[in-house]
Structures are given as C-alpha cells and as structure tokens.
C-alpha cells in the first residue's frame, strides 16, 4: 500500500515536473499567469464579500428613479417591465410572422408610452422633469434620442448622396462639423445656445434640450454609418429597380434603405451603445441621471469616500445594459438576413 502510494506520488511529481519544465516555456508562463489570475480573482471576490454594500442596497430606489414621487414610482417600474418583456420577446420570442412584423412598432411605441408614464397627464398626475432621475432618465434620454436620430441619420445619408449640389454640400458640412466637435461641447452648448435661438417666451426643458443635443450629435454619426452601407450596395440593384419601373422615392425606400440598414446595423449598434454610455456626460451638466444620482449619493456624508463600491456598481449596471443592447442587435441581425426572410 505504502509502496503504491509513493509510486503514485512520484508519478504525480513526474507529471508536474514534465508539465512545468520539459514541454515548453509557454506552458510554465501560462501556469504562473493562471496562478496569479486565480489569486487576483480570489482577492477580488473576498473584497466584494467583505466590503460594505450599504451605499448601493439602501439607495436602490434613488438609482432607479431619482427623486420621482414615491407613490408614483409604479409608473417607471411598469415602463421598465414593458421594456424588459419586449427585449425578451425580441431575443427569445416565438417566430410568428405577425409578431416579427409588429415588433418594430412595439419598440417605437415604448418611447411615447414612457414619456406619457413619466410626464403624466390624461388621468395621471403630472411629474415635473426635474424630478425625473436615475436609470429611468438615462433610459428615457437614450430611447428618445435613438428614435429621433435614426430617421434623421437616414435622411442625412440620403442627402449626402443626393445629386442636387446644395443639399449634398449642406448635409456633408453638417455631418463633418458635428463629427469634429466633442460630445460634451455639443451637450453644453445645447443647454446654453438652444434657448438663445428660440423666440422670447418659448422655453424648452433641460431634459429635452439634452435629447435634442444628443439627437443632433448621434444622427451625424449614424448618417456616416448608413452611407457606408449605401455604398456597399451594388449598382445593378438600382438598375434592376429602375428597369422594373420604380421611381426614385420607391428605390430609396424599398431597395436602398433596407439593404443599407442591414449592412450598417453592427456599426449603428456601436453608436447606440456609445450613446447609452455617453448619457453619463449629462451628470457633468447637472442632470440627475444614473451617474448624477450617484455623485449626489457620494456627496452624502453617510457614504463619503465609498467611491469604489459605487463605481463598480455603476460599471456593472452600464455593462449589463450595453451587453443586452449588443445581444438584441445580434438577434436583429440574424433575423434580418436575406436567406431566412419574413
């Protein structure tokens, strides 16, 4: 027995020795890195379990809704629920034809529904925009800007390819200037300059000014992506459509744009994920979205100095949402491929 045991031990030792030394230097390096990374993850996990997450758990309400009135908070919650369900339907839903055709309208419909639920009116109490906040505001700004910037981006891309000199020059000027300016400048001057260009007496709310600025900025980027998609369409598609007797408008709507969107979808998704991340810039300009709320929580003397917990929490929330967006776009891409068809 003893003999066997020692035999086993020497075998194990030999195996380990062979693994570490004789095979190649890369194996050894791998082993060292593996050990280091395991110990790092272990340290990180122990830190996570040891540190005090009260700054997150006791403020979940604030992170989600900001200073939205407490007895009205079912409204954003209901909107979240609808968004979640439509996301799940898009990713894992059944492949019924009518469902797939109407899914787009469902997505578009969530935005006015969200505005109605947050703003109130028509039977619900009105909530001022300064009480909107947290994740609700982040998602609202993102979804509104997406809804507005996609059609504007498509229009700009078509204008940039237009044969009419003035339209082409103007849209390329707009796109180039917008792409040269940093986003924070667009947002900041959007807050400052939009009121200056409006007639006296008309005022636009801070949240809506932010949405306008985001729309103006993102639509220029989306236009460039769609232009890339348009350029990838072979010329004979247009000739075929012309020979079928379609006019220019029909060619654009039915032939060019769907194909360009399909090609540009990954790039557009990246822009939209960037848009979601960049809503955090509004916290610098004083809007109480997710990061803004966190900054005010960190200024609370009870939680002072707990930066790392808050930032890790925020980073994971943003990561989760961005990954979900990427996943949805991947599903859309699969469903949009020509072979499967509708």
């Amino acid at each position: 027995m003893n003999n066997l045991n020692s035999n086993l031990n020497t075998n194990l030792f030999k195996k380990l020795k062979r693994f570490l030394l004789s095979k190649s230097k890369y194996n050894f390096l791998n082993f060292i890195c593996f050990v280091i990374s395991i110990s790092l993850t272990f340290n990180f996990l122990t830190w996570i379990f040891k540190s005090n997450w009260k700054v997150v758990t006791s403020n979940l309400n604030l992170y989600a809704f900001g200073s939205f009135p407490i007895n009205e908070q079912w409204r954003p919650l209901f909107w979240f629920f609808i968004l979640l369900s439509i996301t799940l339907i898009t990713i894992y839903g059944p492949k019924w034809n009518w469902l797939r055709k109407n899914l787009l309208f469902g997505w578009i419909g969530t935005v006015p529904l969200g505005i109605y639920l947050l703003n109130g009116g028509f039977g619900l109490d009105t909530v001022m925009t300064r009480n909107w906040g947290g994740l609700t505001l982040t998602i609202l700004i993102t979804s509104c800007s997406i809804l507005f910037s996609l059609p504007i981006g498509i229009l700009l891309a078509l204008c940039r390819r237009s044969s009419i000199f003035l339209i082409q020059k103007l849209s390329s000027f707009y796109i180039d200037v917008m792409r040269a300016v940093p986003l924070i400048a667009v947002l900041f001057f959007g807050q400052l300059l939009i009121p200056l260009f409006l007639p006296v007496g008309i005022e636009i709310d801070r949240v809506w000014r932010a949405i306008i600025a985001f729309t103006l900025f993102v639509s220029a980027y989306i236009a460039e992506d769609i232009r890339g998609g348009l350029q990838s369409i072979p010329k004979n598609q247009i000739e075929a459509a012309k020979s079928l007797g379609l006019n220019k408008f029909q060619i654009n709507i039915f032939i060019l744009i769907p194909q360009a969107l399909r090609v540009a979808l990954p790039a557009i998704t990246n822009q939209l994920i960037g848009l979601f991340q960049n809503t955090s810039l509004m916290s610098i300009l004083g809007l109480m979205e997710l990061l803004g709320v966190s900054r005010s929580i960190l200024a609370n003397p009870e939680f002072i100095g707990q930066y790392i917990e808050v930032y890790i929490w925020l980073a994971s929330v943003y990561w989760l949402f961005c990954t979900t967006m990427a996943l949805v776009s991947k599903k859309l891409e699969q469903k949009m491929t020509i072979n499967k068809g509708f």
């Binding site: 890369y26 390096l29 791998n30 890195c33 593996f34 990374s37 044969s163 009419i164 000199f165 003035l166 339209i167 103007l170 200037v177 040269a180 300016v181 940093p182 986003l183 924070i184 400048a185 900041f188 001057f189 400052l192 300059l193 009121p195 200056l196 260009f197 409006l198 007639p199 006296v200 994920i273 991340q277 960049n278 955090s280 810039l281 916290s283 610098i284 990061l291 100095g305 930066y307 790392i308 930032y311 925020l314 980073a315 943003y318 990561w319 961005c322 990954t323 990427a326």
Partner: protein
C-alpha cells in the same frame, strides 16, 4: 429630375434655408440685446484673472483670455499626444495577444476588451482619479528609490512630474482607447489571408519572424483608417478632462463662459480649435499612410 427643375428646387431650398436662418438669427439678436451681451471678441485681450494649476508655458492670472485659451489648447495637445502613444502601445500589445496562440492571454484580453468597451469612459476616468489617486492612503503608493514615485499628488518619474489629474486622465484615456485600438489591430491582422500564414510556415520561417516580417507589413494598411478614427475619438474624448479637474481647452472655455457669459464666441473658438486638432491628426496619419504605401512598392 431635369436640369431646370433641379435649379428651381435649389433656389427654393436656398430661400427656405435663408428664411429659417434669418428667423434663428433674429431670435438670437433679440435674446442677446435683451440680456445685453452682444457679439464681440474684444474681451479676449482682457486679463483672465483665474489661475491655472497646470501650464507648460508661463502664465499668470493677469494674462489675457486669449493666452489662457492657448495654454488650454497646449494642455489638450499634451494629454492627447501622450495618451495616443500610450494607447497605441497598450492596444497593439493587447491586439497581438488577442489573436495569439496562447489561450490564457486570449481569454483575459477578450475579457478586458468587453469590460472596458461596455462601461462609460467618464466612470473609468472618475475611478482612476478618485479611487486610483485621491484615495491613496499615507500619501505614497509606490516609491522605488526616488526614480518612480506614485502618490496622491501624482506620478514622478526620473524627475518628470505628472500631476494626479494629468496621470488619471492619461491612464483612463489610454486604457479606454487601447481596447478599441486592440479591436482595430485584431481586425487588421485577421484581414491578412490565411494562405500567408500557411505559406511562411511551409517555407520553414519561424513563427516570430513570420508574424513580424510577413503578416504585420501586410496588415499595416488595414490598420490606418481604424487607427485614425480611434485617434480622432481620443482627441474628442480628452474633453472629459473637466470631470477630473484638468484644465484643457474645454475646461477653460467653460470657466470663461461662467465668468463672461459669452457662449457663442466660446463655441466658435472651441469649434476652430478642434477643427485644427482634427486636421493635425488626419494630416499626420495621411503622411504615415503614404509612407507605408511607398515602402510596400
């Protein structure tokens, strides 16, 4: 559309646009006269009367606004160029490891890229500044024989002093951009046809030599457009310096607007300074692209 129709359409469009901008400018003038600000640039030569923590050229609060703006532009340029170099080095390394044979590095770099790309830059910057530098206890984090000294006041390396704001911005920007650059590098390497790898292997050229002498030169032209757009993004992202309190061109514009209220003039100045920066980057990248193309022939 026939030619006459086109011309007619353009004229109508021009009048519509003129009318629209006319209304906007009219509103602007009304609003400016109402608030008694006006539109002029003569405030640029007045003393700025704010102090800057960081300036590479001599500056005092009695200097003019124009000089303060120029200092800000230099500060921006400083952080952009240094993080551009650092990001390229880190990004190239990560990109190589991402396509390499070593499965451990392949997995860790993939994890790094997703984590960095899917979290906002602003949070990363704040994390570097507030968690990385400002919360260093006992004031010193690392001190190696006075050569490298990392403390809550910044980094000192061979007598070269980098403030904590600059270092946080440099690290945050470089690491954020490096994830994107790594993806560009990976795409470029994967654009080289698989036959090239098989060819050098069948010729008996070693892996290292084949990778650096055969694959990389062919992938270089594919890197350039992606790298250019990433560098432009980096230049634009450097305006987030305001979140960590580094006085770059945008932060100084912000201070001036708070002092004087001249939003439109400052917007124009910012626009032009960024146009110049963008032009600089695209020109330099164009020269690099050309030299690569020439060396290939």
């Amino acid at each position: 559309m026939s030619k006459n129709k086109k011309i007619f359409f353009q004229i109508v469009l021009m009048f519509a646009l003129l009318g629209f901008t006319g209304i906007l400018i009219n509103n602007l003038i009304i609003n400016l006269t109402r608030t008694d600000i006006g539109f002029k640039f003569n405030w640029l030569i007045k003393p700025a009367s704010f102090s800057l923590a960081e300036h590479s050229l001599p500056y005092s609060p009695s200097d003019s606004y124009a000089w303060a703006l120029f200092i800000g532009w230099i500060n921006s340029l400083k952080v952009i160029i240094s993080s551009l170099i650092l990001a390229t080095c880190i990004g190239t390394l990560i990109g190589f490891l991402r396509v390499g044979k070593n499965s451990f590095f392949r997995i860790t770099t993939a994890g790094f890229i997703t984590i960095v790309r899917q979290t906002p830059l602003l949070i990363q910057l704040m994390c570097w500044y507030f968690v990385g530098f400002l919360s260093i206890r006992n004031n010193t984090f690392l001190n190696i024989r006075n050569i490298l000294n990392i403390s809550n006041k910044g980094i000192e390396f061979f007598g070269l002093y980098l403030s904590s704001e600059f270092s946080a911005l440099l690290l945050g920007l470089s690491i954020f951009s490096s994830a994107f650059i790594a993806e560009v590098i990976r795409g470029g390497i994967q654009s080289v046809p698989l036959g090239q790898w098989e060819a050098y292997r069948s010729l008996g050229i070693s892996e290292k030599q084949g990778f650096f002498k055969i694959i990389i030169p062919q992938a270089l032209p594919a890197f350039i457009p992606g790298l250019t757009s990433q560098y432009l993004n980096l230049a634009k992202n450097s305006t987030l310096a305001i979140a960590v309190g580094y006085s770059d061109i945008y932060a100084i514009n912000d201070t001036i607007i708070n002092q004087t209220g001249r939003a439109i003039e400052c917007f124009i100045i910012l626009l032009f300074s960024f146009l110049i920066l963008n032009l600089l980057i695209t020109k330099v990248m164009g020269i690099i692209d050309k030299s690569i193309m020439r060396s290939r022939i």
